[in-house]
Structure formats: C-alpha cells, structure tokens
C-alpha cells in the first residue's frame, strides 16, 4: 500500500500580512475551540485510508496553527492518531510564526508530539520585515529559532522571502548569512509573489508598490541558491533546501504524485487519483461539519494526458526530475521543441529520468510548458498520424 500524508489547515492569524493570499481569518479567536472540534469531527468522518502502519507524515499549516492553545492542537493530533494512525518515525510538522509564539510554547509543541517545526522567519533584516508588513522583528525570528532548538526540535525549517519590493541584493545576502550561521536542517526561499486579492497586488497595480523586475528576481534567486548549496544544503526543489537526509517528506509527496488527506477549511487532498478541496469559507466549513455533512466543495480527476503532464511539470521541480517510460522518451527525443531544449541546455536526460539543468531551474515553468506542449502533440500524433510536412 502506498504511503499517505495528512495536511490540516488552521486559518487563524493575528492580522493579515499584506502579501498573504492564504485562507486566513483575523479577530476570530473565539472560534478556536469550535474549529478544533470540527477538525476532529471531519477526521473521524473520513474512512481510515492510511496503511496499517499509519500516516507517513502530518503537517499542521496555516494561517497560524500555533494560535491555538497546545491542548487543542494535542486533541487534534490525538484524533489523527486514533482515526488514521501515525507511523513510527513519521514526520510531524507544525508551522509557527515568530510574532505570536513565546519560548514556552515551543516546548509544548515538542511535547505534544511535533518533531519538525517550520518557522515563518521571512527575513533576518528588520527593514525587510517592515517592507513585508510583518508584525515581528529579526530578533523575534532569531529568538523563535533558538527557542525551538532549546525545546528539542532537531528538524527545523526557516521560511524566507526574497525579491521584497524596496529591499536590495545586500539585504538578501545578510539574511542568508544569518541563516547559514543558524544552520537549520531545512530552508525554504520564496520569491515574493503578488497573490490575487492581496493588498500588495492592489498597490502594485496602482503603482504604489515598486515591482521587482525579472532580472533582479533572477539574480536574488540564483544568489540564494548558490549561497545555500555552497553551505552544504541540497537544493531539492525549486524553493526548498535541506541538509542531507532532511528533505521534507510531507512536501516531497506533493511533487512526486504521493497521496495525502486534507482537513480543515480550504484544505486540498489527493486520494485514489482524485483531487478535491474543502470550502474556503470558515462559517460555511463549521456549519457543514457541525451538521454532519461533508465540507468538500469541489474536485477533479485528471484525464490520462493531463495526469502525465502534471507528473512531468511537478517532477521537474525536483532535483530528481521525472521518470519517463521508453515510449515517452523516444517520442520526446524526436521532437524539435524538445531537442531545442536539450541543446539549449535547459533539460538533460539521465538514464530514464529527465531533469532541469542549472540553466533550466530558474525558468522551470517556461520549460514545463514547452515539454507539456510536446507531450500533447505526441498524444495527438498517436491518435491521427504525424504532422504534414511543412512547405
């Protein structure tokens, strides 16, 4: 039986960061208890799908899961154990936000059973944090990291954001210096994205926020990548770095076709080749679950061609690339678009795997679109013979 992960979403935050596009509510802390109960109900309502040994990974994300009192998190984790089971040695992650988590809380989290923590540090440079509109300082982020170590977390991730409008290459370098010194097991570096409906996006549109240009963005991305790999981190996914053996097992499943359950408002799941998602509306979510009905709002099953494409573009995001069948390999190799990409040095074929090269990584989406287009052409050719010759 395949291994299975579980994602639980916690929408509560003290305030909304101006760049954040996640499903988040503020000022609704009176709902923590109800929400925890609803999560437990949802967990109990889904069939036991985990293999006998239990879930391989559990991820409490948000929002800010640590906004909930430890006893509530514990209750939920206990329900996960009871309903699906958690495998021995499973990766159990919780996201924490430096602004809202005091030192004592880390000890609680560790004690409840989380063995990996992901801290939303974003920057180790106060000016950068201010530009991002964060409610914590670089010192808070440092404090959070130390507290987690003290609490016994030996698998810590730091989330970082680069390409912050108004910040310089130098600011980014300084953040990287601090992080490399702290030596967390795992680092995520995200280019700031202007998400739909956020205040950053509105401001960028109205010209009120300087937009980082493609060249600057590329330079910071590659700068970070080089700095971290030089420090001994493995660059194992577009935005993720890990010390040897410390890749996030939970996230790895997202890119390699692994299955996962999802509970909580807006959570997505992928089970039996079908992806589905819950309502994004918190009152709606609570009402559905409390009424004993399913909070699932939509779903999709990919046709085989789309599934192949998805496997390819997701796989290409990782350092291991994607495994191709012989027919796929030969089909691709015969197409001009594909040979152009190989000759241009964007992708390489290593045995039965196709991977992005250092040149291909920063332009992974454009490469993926090319390859997916070729794959669709191949599917079409297979249906009705090859293209007519060009005059």
């Amino acid at each position: 039986m395949k291994s299975l992960g579980l994602y639980a979403h916690f929408p509560f935050c003290p305030c909304r960061c101006p760049y954040c596009g996640f499903t988040v509510v503020t000022g609704k802390d009176d709902l923590h208890e109800r929400y925890a109960t609803a999560l437990c109900n949802e967990l109990e309502a889904i069939a036991r799908l985990a293999p006998a040994e239990g879930l391989a990974s559990v991820f409490f994300g948000g929002g800010t899961p640590t906004r909930l009192e430890p006893r509530l998190l514990e209750r939920i984790l206990t329900t996960v154990r009871a309903s699906q089971g958690i495998a021995v040695g499973a990766e159990i992650t919780v996201e924490a936000n430096p602004g809202t988590t005091d030192a004592a809380r880390y000890a609680d989290l560790r004690q409840i059973g989380f063995n990996r923590i992901s801290i939303g540090a974003q920057s180790f440079f106060d000016q950068g944090l201010r530009l991002l509109g964060r409610d914590h300082t670089a010192a808070d982020a440092l404090g959070a990291f130390r507290a987690s170590r003290k609490a016994g977390f030996d698998n810590v991730n730091l989330d970082l954001i680069f390409s912050i409008p108004g910040a310089t290459d130098e600011d980014w370098r300084r953040t990287l210096d601090v992080v490399v010194d702290l030596r967390p097991e795992h680092i995520s570096t995200y280019a700031l994205t202007l998400e739909e409906g956020t205040s950053f996006q509105r401001r960028a549109r109205s010209g009120d926020l300087p937009v980082v240009c493609e060249d600057d963005d590329a330079r910071q991305y590659i700068g970070g990548l080089e700095r971290l790999t030089a420090a001994g981190y493995e660059h194992y996914e577009i935005s993720n770095f890990a010390l040897p053996g410390r890749r996030s097992r939970h996230n790895w499943a997202y890119w390699t076709g692994g299955e996962y359950l999802g509970v909580g408002v807006s959570a997505h799941r992928y089970v039996d080749g079908r992806r589905s998602w819950n309502t994004k509306d918190l009152p709606d979510y609570l009402a559905q679950v409390e009424a004993g009905s399913s909070p699932t709002e939509g779903g999709e099953r990919l046709d085989p061609a789309a599934a192949t494409s998805e496997r390819v573009w997701l796989g290409l995001r990782t350092c291991e690339g994607v495994k191709l069948g012989r027919v796929e390999r030969e089909g691709l190799a015969a197409k001009r678009r594909m040979t152009d990409l190989v000759r241009g040095g964007f992708v390489q074929l290593e045995g039965d795997r196709m991977k992005l090269t250092g040149k291909g990584i920063p332009v992974a989406d454009a490469v993926s679109v090319e390859i997916v287009t070729v794959i669709e052409d191949l599917a079409r050719d297979a249906q009705r013979g090859p293209d007519p010759p060009v005059p």
Partner: protein, 599 residues
C-alpha cells in the same frame, strides 16, 4: 401596384450621418414594422453591423405609404453604407432607384462621401432630395450646412429638408416629397422582362438569392428566365418582396424591387449587374451593368494552427459566397505555411472579413501586413503583377516597380488645412490644388500612392483635424518609383510575411520602427530573439528580445497544484495563438505590427 404609384429610392450620406436611423423612422411611420420588431438601425442586421454601429451591406425594404392625397404608394427603400470601402454597394443600389435622399449631418457639415455619393447619384440621373439631419443636436449648424449643400448642388437644390432622424421631426414632410419629387419608374409592362440584379447573397438552404429591380415587363413564379451574361436558363422557384424578411408573391411588376430564387447554385452564376431576361428571348438588350470593382489591398491569411488549413479554405469559400467583393487564392509562405492571399476593398473590409472568419468560422488567423498591387517591369520587358512583397522578383531582374497612385480629395475646415497638408506630404503626396467650398471649408487635391493611404492615413487626418477632415479617392494610374523590398529576419531567418515594398527614402526609418515594435510585441521566451531589418543583404536595423531570466512560481504545495495547472494551461493557450517560427514564437499581433507603428 400601379406603376405610377411606385417610388424607388435610396438613402446616401457620409458615414454616420444617420441613414439607417432615418430608415427606422420611415419604417415606423409607414407601419411597416410592429413596435415589437423595432430597434435602433433595424436594417443593420449582421452582428458586426450592430456591434460597430455601421452599415456594411446595402439593405432593401418595401413600405406602403398613404400619401396626403389619400392614395397608397409602394416605396422601395435601399439603405446604403457610408464607409468609403463600401462605395460599390452605393453605386449598385443607385441603379435600382429613381431618386436618392441625401443626408448631411448638421453637426459635421458636408464631408467627402457626401460629395462622392452625390456625384454617383447625379451621374445616374437620380432626383436628389437633400436633407439636413440631426437638427435636434444643440451643436447643429443648420443654416451653415444648408449653405454648404447649396454650394455643392447649386441650382438643383430647390428645397432642403430639416429633419431629425432620431426624433422623427421633418420625416413626414420628407415622405411626402418622395411621392412628389421622385418620378415613378419608367419601363414598359408589355415588353419582355428585363430586370437588374443589384445584389445577391447565398443562403445555405435556398441557394443564391438575387435582389432585383424589374425595369421592363414582369417576372412570375414558374416563369423560365435567362441570365444575360451567362446565358443560363432557370425556372423561377420563388419571387417576392422584401420586408424585414422575404415575403413571397406571385409576380414582380415593372418598376418593382424584390428578390428571386431560381435554383442558382453559385454566386458566380448570378453576377451583380447582370440582366434577367425571358428564356425564349436571348437577344434582348442587357441593361447597363456596373463597373467591376477591384480589390485595393491584399493580405495573406494563414491559420495559426496548420491543421486548420482546410477549415480556412472552407470558411473563405463560404464567406465569399456572401461577399463577392473579396477574392482569395492559395499562397504558401516558408514562414507561415499554407495560406491564402486575399484581396479587399480597403482596411475596414479586411478587418471585417478577418473578424467574421475568426468569429463565425472559428479559425485563428495570422493576417499579414496589407499591401497594394504593384506592377513590375522586368529587364526582359515583361510586366508582372505583384500582390505580395514576397513575390517580388530578384532586384537584378527588375527594371522598374510601379505602384497605384490615387487622386484624392480631402475636405477640411480652413483652420486645419496646414496640418492636413503636412499629413499628405508626409505620405508622399503630390499637391495639385486647393478649392474653397466656402469661406471656411476647402477641398485639397492630392496625388497619393495608395500604399501610403491603406495604413491609417484616414485616422491621421482625423486626428490632426479634430475629426473634421474627410477623405475620398479614385484610382489614377500606375506610376514607377524608387521602391525597394525591406525584409525582416528573425534569428537570421527570413520572415517573408513581414516583408514590405517601400519607398527607398522611407525604408531606414521604417525598418527601425518596425524592429522596435516587434521587440515590444514578441514576448520573452526560452531563447534570445534577434530581429533585423534588411534591404537585400544590408542590415539597416536590429533589436534583441532577451530570453527569460526567471519564470517559475515559487510555491507548489497541495492547494497550489490545481491553480498552477490552470496557469500552465493559460500559458499553453497563449502559445497556441502564436506562430512557431524555428524555435521562436511570434504572436498574431506581430504580423500586423506595422499597422501600429505609431502607437
């Protein structure tokens, strides 16, 4: 209907002066339409006409009008388009009429197509009823406009009507004047039939439908008829009159306007301008036909997706059935593959055909830059017609290249004369003379190369004259000039579809600006794109589109996967609207880049 009670007339004017709106009022006041059927510009029934608010095809409609004398008259009205591209629609409508209502918008005054359509009507000996329209508008200059009309028509202008086609004022009086001033059709009932085909269209169920004006005799259902020019005989399956829809009748009498269905399979069999005669009287004299119209601009049409070549051919074939004014023939381009070279009456016509192909026939198209027809005199003394720059013979074989020259007239208020002259001169115009229409308006006469006019010349005139200049032209001659071919190379490969034939003195500037525009329009991609403009082997301009530096979304976790797939889907769709040229993708708009060179 008694022949003496028939009135056949059309409404002519410059574009937007209110022809179709006047037709609405007439249809209303004669109770031809119920209030349910009524809508603005009801005769403009094509989607494109309604969207653009302009008339593209002439529309005929019959009304019954009870005159002040208590008698009933049969009115056959033809609403005509005002845009210069469709002047041929006006000239064929005129031949079916005895009179024309000439509208002049009082907020604009006399404009170029007012003059040219009036001249057409006069040369057909039509009675003109001039009207000043839009008198309801506050800025209307009714007396000034009247004066302009008097200056134009001279003694012929006995009475000018003041009307508001929008509000209906003055329209009743106009209807009465149509009875009184426009003569009933002549022609002899007892003669053998002679009827003029003034329009035709193709209906997928009924075959060709001819619109005709009976000049002599009559036509009835079941009758055997002959088309004069093709000498083919048909039996009349259905004959009738035109309301909003076709209404079958038994007979069309002398002087009447109506339609005919006779098992005609192809539009080419029912040539507009042909005469319908009795089957057993093949020697009857034909009516004077029309001057055949000539496409003025040519452009290559290619499917973006090579698989759609056959679809495009089918679509062109069907479209051509309903639009005899456009022509096409197969063409291949090393860059664009299989396509068609099409001829159009003008840029608006080209735009409309292109839009109909994409919309009604769902073919995604690449349209190459429009050009005119050149004549090339080769060293061997042969004259070749060249409708596509790519087909220009090698320079060494060319003795001279000749281009079409127009004789143009620009009507403009005096204060804008200077700026309009600058536009004309900038377009290689040769000044002929200025004619003052009155103290405040002038007609500038120029010789202009057609090639300089097809691309946004009119827009330029409008913009330097705050919309007041109007423009009209006639073909004058083919004239030799220092013309060269300017090529565009993408990553050193010739992109034939972007080649232009251009005056030597303008080539440098053109090459630079075209490369600049292409750089804007060709998006960054995986590989660097080098754009060059060259004459022969000499590169005169160069631009580079740098490749992507970064193109990847940062986060791709559970909830992001579906979103990211949609994003990739969208990028892929975007690609489908681009043409693959070597390893470069060129968007549709780039092929018309030169049209937007000033934006």
């Amino acid at each position: 209907m008694n022949q003496s009670h028939i009135r056949n007339f059309c409404i002519v004017a410059h574009i937007d002066h209110g022809k179709s709106t006047l037709a609405d009022r007439m249809l209303e006041m004669t109770d031809t339409l119920t209030s349910d059927q009524m809508q603005h510009q009801v005769l403009d029934d094509m989607d494109l006409e309604r969207e653009r608010g302009i008339t593209i095809k002439a529309h005929a409609v019959r009304m019954a009008y009870r005159g002040a004398n208590g008698e009933e008259y049969e009115f056959n009205l033809i609403d005509t388009p005002g845009h210069v591209d469709f002047t041929y629609e006006v000239s064929r409508s005129l031949a079916a009429c005895e009179g024309a209502v000439l509208l002049v918008d009082a907020t604009q005054g006399v404009e170029a197509q007012t003059v040219s359509n009036l001249l057409l009507a006069l040369s057909d000996d039509l009675v003109i009823i001039p009207c000043v329209n839009k008198i309801d508008v506050a800025s209307a200059d009714v007396s000034g406009t009247k004066q302009q009309i008097v200056d134009l028509i001279g003694d012929g202008a006995d009475e000018i009507f003041d009307i508001s086609a929008k509000e209906g004022s003055g329209v009743q009086e106009l209807l009465e004047a149509i009875v009184e001033r426009i003569p009933p059709p002549g022609g002899a009932v007892e003669e053998g039939v002679r009827a003029l085909i003034f329009d035709s269209l193709y209906d997928q169920y009924r075959g060709v439908i001819c619109f005709l004006r009976v000049v002599d005799g009559s036509i009835s259902k079941g009758q055997k008829i002959r088309f004069h020019s093709t000498d083919r005989v048909y039996e009349v399956e259905e004959i009738g009159i035109l309301r909003l829809a076709r209404v079958p009748t038994d007979t069309l009498l002398t002087g009447e306007v109506g339609y005919l269905i006779a098992g005609v399979k192809e539009l080419s069999e029912a040539r507009v301008g042909d005469t319908v005669i009795d089957a057993d009287n093949p020697t009857a004299n034909p009516l004077p036909g029309y001057r055949p119209f000539q496409p003025m601009v040519f452009s290559g049409l290619y499917p973006i997706n090579p698989d759609e070549h056959q679809d495009l051919r089918d679509a062109l074939e069907r479209l051509r059935l309903n639009d005899a004014a456009f022509s096409y023939e197969p063409e291949t381009s090393p860059a664009l593959g299989f396509g068609f070279r099409c001829g159009f009456l003008g840029l608006l016509h080209m735009e409309i055909v292109q839009e109909r192909l994409e919309r009604e026939y769902r073919v995604d198209l690449i349209t190459t830059l429009p050009n005119v027809r050149y004549e090339v005199l080769t060293k061997s003394g042969e004259v070749r017609e060249v409708e596509s720059p790519a087909l220009l013979p090698p320079v060494v074989e060319i003795d001279e290249i000749r281009e079409p020259i127009l004789e143009a007239q620009i009507l403009v208020p005096s204060e804008y004369i200077g700026s309009c002259m600058r536009v004309a001169e900038d377009r290689r115009g040769t000044y002929l003379n200025t004619e003052y229409l009155d103290s405040s308006r002038a007609a500038l006469h120029y010789e202009l190369p057609l090639a300089e006019v097809v691309v946004d010349f009119y827009d330029k005139l409008k913009s330097v004259s705050r919309g007041f200049a109007s423009f009209d032209y006639e073909h004058k001659e083919m004239r030799a000039g220092p013309l060269v071919r300017l090529d565009i190379l993408i990553n050193s490969d010739l992109l034939d579809a972007l080649a232009v034939i251009i005056h030597r003195d303008k080539s440098q500037e053109w090459g630079k600006r075209l490369c600049g525009k292409l750089k804007e329009l060709i998006p960054r991609q995986m590989f660097e794109v080098i754009i060059q403009a060259a004459i022969g082997t000499k590169v005169i301009a160069r631009e580079t589109v740098r490749p992507f530096r970064k193109n990847v979304i940062a986060k791709c976790y559970g909830g992001d996967v579906s979103r990211k797939r949609k994003l990739l889907e969208r990028q892929k769709e975007g690609k489908k609207r681009m043409k693959q040229f070597g390893s470069v993708e060129i968007p549709q708009e780039a092929f018309l880049a030169a049209l937007k060179i000033d934006d």
